[in-house]
């Protein structure tokens, strides 16, 4: 009787057409930021459904709470957060309202990306007056492709724990991801090799990992301290330093104040370069790899222009 029913069910499923339906439900994965979401998509493939909380053009430090965020978190099987206090200003109250045990700390349903990353700029002493200083180091690490590999491996491990049946898929996707990063790294290194030691200025201190990986230097930030709006006196200092150090490239993300950067650029024969760390913020940057391609290409072009 049971086997008859099963056969009938199979026949119905089969007659629905297409390939055999998936034996297991898709894992609902929520990523706090689009870059994490994009990497999750590379690893999870069709076995997961990715939702992102922050918009690509939104500052990941400050995301406006909306009801849908709580609903999304409530229904999640897994949460991927950047960690290192990146989302400390907005995620905790949302999680409290969402009350979802599946993504509680210590469960396989929670991935904290910063775990396993060699963090830069971990402060020796913590002083509140130093602004939005992150006790756990600078949290903008995903623009270093080798850090992206570490995060990808962590996501694969957690996904395999949440859904062991699909572990082989995650493993092969991870291998594919790593191969692509390795191949791309050679390209990216080559593109930026001529500009070793070049100097940039950034708005927030959000490109140190990229600079370290590809051998250029973040000379100054327009913010006097992380998270604090640029003051006139500080900008004067930045302008002086840019002139002295021959730095001409200013990197600005979509949610940062471009006008400030333009004012500084006017006085330093500089160029303001629109960049983003989030896939989807700029044109043709749907995936993490597109994003990195665009980032490296834009940067190389700006360095070449101001050489």
């Amino acid at each position: 009787m049971i086997s008859k029913l099963a056969a009938a069910a199979l026949a119905v499923a089969g007659s629905a057409g297409g390939p055999i339906p998936p034996a297991v439900a898709k894992i609902t994965v929520v990523a706090t930021t689009p870059d994490l979401g994009s990497i999750a998509r590379e690893i999870g493939g069709d076995a997961i459904d990715v939702k992102t909380l922050a918009k690509p053009t939104e500052d990941p430090h400050f995301v406006d709470a909306k009801p849908s965020h709580i609903v999304t978190l409530n229904r999640a099987d897994m949460l991927i957060e950047g960690g290192a206090e990146l989302e400390i200003g907005w995620l905790p109250p949302l999680l409290e309202s969402a009350r979802n045990d599946k993504i509680a700390p210590g469960t396989p349903g929670l991935v904290v990306a910063s775990q396993g990353i060699r963090m830069l700029e971990v402060p020796a002493t913590l002083d509140r007056s130093r602004g939005d200083v992150h006790a756990l180091g600078n949290p903008h690490f995903l623009v270093d492709p080798l850090d992206a590999k570490i995060v990808a491996a962590q996501i694969a491990a957690h996904l395999s724990e949440v859904q062991p049946q699909s572990a082989p898929l995650f493993k092969s996707n991870l291998a594919k991801f790593n191969t692509t990063v390795d191949a791309k790294m050679i390209e990216w290194q080559k593109e930026l090799a001529p500009f070793r030691g070049a100097k940039v200025v950034t708005y927030h201190n959000d490109f140190v990992y990229l600079a370290e990986r590809f051998g250029f230097q973040v000379e100054e930030t327009l913010e006097p301290k992380p998270g604090i709006a640029p003051s006139a006196a500080h900008l004067a200092k930045v302008i002086e330093k840019m002139k002295a150090e021959n730095a001409h490239v200013i990197l600005v993300q979509p949610y940062q104040n471009r006008k400030t950067a333009e004012t500084v650029a006017r006085q330093t024969d500089g160029v303001v370069v629109d960049v983003s760390q989030q896939p989807g913020a700029l044109k043709n940057t749907a995936t993490y790899f597109d994003l990195m391609d665009t980032l490296v290409r834009t940067l190389a072009a700006a360095f070449a222009e101001k050489k």
């Binding site: 406006d64 009801p67 709580i70 609903v71 309202s97 007056s129 200083v133 301290k225 998270g227 604090i228």
Partner: protein
């Protein structure tokens, strides 16, 4: 009960509780403020309360710390003192509205100055304006409700006196009341209400709850009690519409309720003017 509804309930229940339990007192105070024709007193007090919060932030205390609350309350009491003092008896050189307006502008500029030295000040500024109603907790709602209940009893017990001072200050003076002292008590309790509420709901929503239901009520009725009833009805309707729209259309909660208030005011005005229309013209 559908699963969909359960999720919505879980997300919105505490914001809903805050929007039903707290505004009644605000509506009552709003009626006083409309009577006194010092509409911008609420906005000014809310802004001063925010300024106090920013003083706390710049001293390194977190937003939710108790110290921040006390600093905010203290600064707001100062403003309350200023407002009751500036309401001079008969001979008034400078209109009180001017003092109120100046207080608002200086407090707003002060907030900008202080926040320029606080990490993420720009975003904090927006949060202080629109509030974070969506993230209110059970504890916050409970605490506020307790404070509001005590203050409601205070205003209820002294309603006759406050009502007279609001509607007929000249008579109050003539009757030998210490108008300035009573005014200070009135504004001090008002300050406590505003400081408690503005930290949950932001400056904009506080102002909207104080003024919009009161203005609608004044258009719809003549006496205190019916006005209070209409005001509560309007506040509840605006809350429900705003919260519903916030959930359905995924909009920021506080701003959605403020806009619902504005929409209701338009509807009530249209209704009132239509009702008056048929009167014969002499």
């Amino acid at each position: 009960m559908s699963a969909e509804f359960q999720v919505a309930w879980q997300v919105m229940k505490w914001p809903l509780a805050a929007c039903l339990l707290l505004p009644p007192l605000l509506v009552y105070l709003g009626l006083h403020v409309v009577k006194r024709e010092v509409i911008f007193v609420d906005l000014a007090l809310a802004q001063v309360a925010t300024l106090g919060t920013c003083v706390g932030l710049i001293l390194g205390y977190p937003f939710s710390a108790r110290v921040t609350f006390w600093i905010s309350l203290f600064v707001t009491f100062l403003a309350a003192g200023l407002f009751s003092w500036s309401r001079a008896s008969e001979k008034r050189q400078v209109p009180q509205e001017a003092i109120i307006g100046i207080t608002f502008v200086v407090a707003a500029a002060g907030v900008i100055l202080l926040l320029s030295r606080v990490a993420g000040g720009k975003e904090e500024l927006e949060h202080l304006l629109t509030g974070e109603l969506l993230n209110v907790t059970k504890a916050e709602v409970g605490q506020r409700t307790a404070i509001f209940a005590v203050l409601a009893a205070f205003y209820g017990a002294l309603h006759k006196r406050f009502g007279l001072i609001s509607s007929d200050p000249a008579k109050a003076f003539a009757e030998g009341l210490y108008v300035r002292l009573w005014d200070f008590l009135f504004y001090a309790a008002f300050a406590l209400v505003v400081v408690s509420f503005v930290r949950l709901a932001g400056v904009l929503l506080t102002f909207a709850y104080l003024i919009v239901p009161a203005v609608c009520a004044v258009m719809l009725a003549e006496r205190w009690m019916p006005r209070l009833a209409f005001g509560w009805g309007i506040a509840v309707t605006a809350s429900l519409v705003g919260l519903w729209a916030s959930y359905r259309l995924d909009l920021p909660t506080g701003a959605a309720i403020v806009c619902a208030c504005g929409l209701l005011l338009v509807l009530v005005s249209v209704f009132v003017s239509l009702r008056r229309e048929p009167r014969p013209v002499h």
